[in-house]
Amino acid sequence: MESRTLSPEETSRVWQQCCAQLKKDLSAAVYNTWIVANPLTHLEYIDLSRAVANITSPTAFHSTNVKKNFHTQLTQTLSELTQRQVEISYYIGSLPQNTAGVIKTIKPGNNPSSRPILTKPEFSPSPRVEELFSPNTIESAGVDRIALKSKQIGLRTDFTFETFAVSTSNEMAHAAATAVSNQPGSSYNPLFLYGGVGVGKTHLMHAIANNILQTNPQSRMIYCTGEEFTNEIVQAIQTKRAGVFKDRYRSAQVLLIDDIQFIAGKNAVQEEFFHTFNALTKKSHQIVLTSDRPPQEIRLLEDRLRSRFEAGLMIDIQEPSFELRTAIILLKSQAQNITISIDLAKKIAETVDSARRIEGIITLIRSAVELQGRKIDLELIEQIIKTSQPLEQRGVLKKSPSEVIKTVATHFSVKQLAIKGKSRVKNLVTARHIAMYLLKTELSLPLVEIGRWFANRDHTSVLHAVKKIEAELLRDTQLQREISFIRKSLQTT
């Protein structure tokens, strides 16, 4: 037979029987002091002939004397009751019925179901005071503390994983960042995120930091940009306090440097960073870096640094797709407490391609709503998009129509003449439509004039082309990418 531990109810039943027996032989005072105060708390049947029992006393005084004076009686009585030879061990501790340290709330707040109510409210000196150690108080103090800490570190508290929209272009980065923040130092070290402007590198970095603080508010963390790092070193050298600087950075448990490409070409800074990097990775303290390009493309970066960056996990964050931009708009507008319908969000996502500008536009919408009392509708959105667009995108692109057509032609590897001509080959037609669309949207040319550039087509044909592209843009991501690419090359050339 296997050993069996009796349940608390069974144990207490045995103990009650035991008490009843002993009560007969003892005076009330002795019984209360030495028996009732020192109950049986554990009973285990080893096999059919043996059992072990624990007697728990409130103090060592009780325990010593129970053991000395009542051991034989207890052993005998318990053995008879269990019909086994009982071996008693004596323990000291608080008794289960008044378990110490249980924190109870005096008065339920908004959520009575989740918070226990003290069974005897008359013990509370003032019924309208919330407990210092109620879950509510502890939680809110914790939140305040973390907020203060992240403020000191220089983090944005709204940059968290919850507010980060994930799609195919950034899901790898998101997954890696989550892994790093859950197990800093041990999953991917260093984590190197790179990508263009406004793709969410900084957001992810802050989210990692915020998440680490949530789980461990005490962790020593440094967040800075490559430029700040550089400036600090320069200052430390100037004021002859390089030692302080080194101690500070090398004792960090988590080091986050944004735009690390900035230290390229600065020898003393790279040297210092190299040693900091080694010191931290040796202690498996987490390092997270971001850059606008991969290490191998950062010019003037020392080879030893480059190879160290490449030893970690490098992740490319792509430009946000149309769907992701829509999701970002919805998320960000939620964070700012304004509601934008999905159709309007799509409308914004169509024209705005960087996540950072999305934030600006949402702030503009909010100010229009809050300050001018306007309603969020298509008209408002269009107006805001128009005014917030960078100058060169606002139809004052300093390009001639022929340059636009040339760029489109180059992009599709077709001849300019063919685009302007009458051929109805499929890829030519697409290129022609895109060119018309761009002439309309980027240069704001009248339809009739656009028609003239394309073998004197009628303005309705142009209108049809523009409408068609606009419609396709809504669902065709490939087309979105191509048009955005052509736009960019128009701006740069």
Partner: protein, 367 residues
């Protein structure tokens, strides 16, 4: 058994044991004093099982022996004696106290029933009497008297090799006293408030600068050596609340004022709060700090703090006057800083001139 002792010595030694003699003992033997005469020492012992004290008695010994007598009775008898020498003897179930002109006979109690003391061993740590006095002054007033939550009736003592910290709370306010010290071992223990009070009284009576503690975590016992006196006490088991987490980290409203003025105003306000659960309201604005009580059938109080300097947001907040009075006394003649965030979030009190102490109070919910 026979020994000679001066009345004054006998009386002062018995007084050291007095506080562990319960008024209503479960067993008569728990309100008794155990007298042991062995070799060249007389040792008096008393225990109520939660606290036990052993004190040596300076005397002239003639023969050895051991006896248990009712404690209160012995104390009363000895204190009634005139100054001078008392001869103590034991004969067949009677303890005889004989002076020049009087003789008292006391019935003794059974020796077998007297409880045995646990054997405590463990690492030793030292507490300075001065630190214990600070604990009494700053921490003990906050400790709970509610026995349904044993952990809060204890003071958490935290010793590291370089620091000493004592924490007390009743769940509505929190006192933390911290200072630097030197200790061989690091130790954290939950000592009952009553035990600490006993240490403080005995340390003062024995005029010692240190109390040595032997802590046995297995037995949940702590043995204190205070001069020649030994104090046995249980430790409280359980988990102390996470007090560090609720100490406010930041304040958005700060009031700097003279503690004495605040104390006086709260005291005046308190007179009129018996009908309103001791509520004292504060209306804090950058220009003015107003103190008032809710109007009841008895009346109301209104006052201002003239010494107050306010920074941050205006705030309305209410406290239990008792919690303020208890603590404001300790800050007497100091400049006090109150750090607040919201009307229902903990408030921190501290003083720059008393950096070793901080006090946190939970404000009232004013309906």
């Amino acid at each position: 058994m026979k020994f000679l002792v001066s009345k004054t010595t006998f009386h002062t030694t018995l007084q050291k044991l007095q506080r562990v003699l319960p008024n209503k003992p479960q067993l008569p033997t728990l309100a008794a004093i155990h007298i042991l005469v062995k070799k060249n020492r007389v040792i008096l012992t008393a225990t109520d099982l939660y606290l036990g004290i052993q004190a040596p008695l300076e005397s002239q010994i003639e023969s050895e022996g051991v006896v248990v007598v009712p404690g209160k009775l012995l104390l009363a008898a000895v204190s009634s004696f005139p100054e001078g020498e008392i001869v103590v003897t034991e004969t067949a179930g009677t303890l005889n106290l004989v002076s020049r002109a009087s003789k008292v006979k006391l019935q003794t109690l059974s020796l077998e029933e007297y409880p045995e003391f646990p054997e405590v061993s463990g690492e030793s740590v030292l507490l300075a009497t001065s630190d214990l006095l600070s604990v009494e002054q700053y921490v003990l007033p906050s400790v709970s008297k509610d026995i349904t939550r044993p952990v809060l009736t204890a003071v958490q003592l935290e010793l590291t090799t370089t620091t000493f910290r004592a924490v007390g709370t009743d769940g509505f306010r929190l006192s933390v006293f911290g200072t630097t010290t030197e200790s061989e071992h690091a130790k954290t223990l939950l000592a009952p408030a009553r035990t600490l009070l006993e240490y403080i009284k005995l340390a003062q009576a024995e005029e010692v600068s240190n109390v040595e503690l032997l802590v046995s975590s297995k037995l949940q016992q702590v043995l204190a050596k205070i001069g020649d006196v030994l104090v046995f006490s249980r430790l409280v088991t359980g988990e102390y609340p996470p007090f560090e987490q609720i100490i406010p980290s930041e304040s958005t409203t700060e009031v700097v004022c003279e503690a004495d003025e605040l104390l006086e105003q709260v005291r005046r306000a308190h007179v009129l709060t018996s009908g309103s659960s001791h509520i004292v309201q504060f209306r804090i604005s950058p220009e003015l700090v107003e103190i008032s009580t809710p109007t009841t059938t008895e009346g109301s109080f209104e006052g201002v703090l003239t010494s107050a300097k306010v920074t941050g947001n205006p705030l309305k907040i209410a406290f239990n006057a008792v919690y303020l009075l208890d603590m404001l006394k300790q800050f007497s003649s100091q400049e006090l800083r109150l750090g607040m965030t919201e009307a229902l979030k903990p408030v921190i009190f501290r003083s720059q001139t008393l950096s070793s102490f901080l006090y946190v109070v939970m404000p009232f919910r004013v309906v």
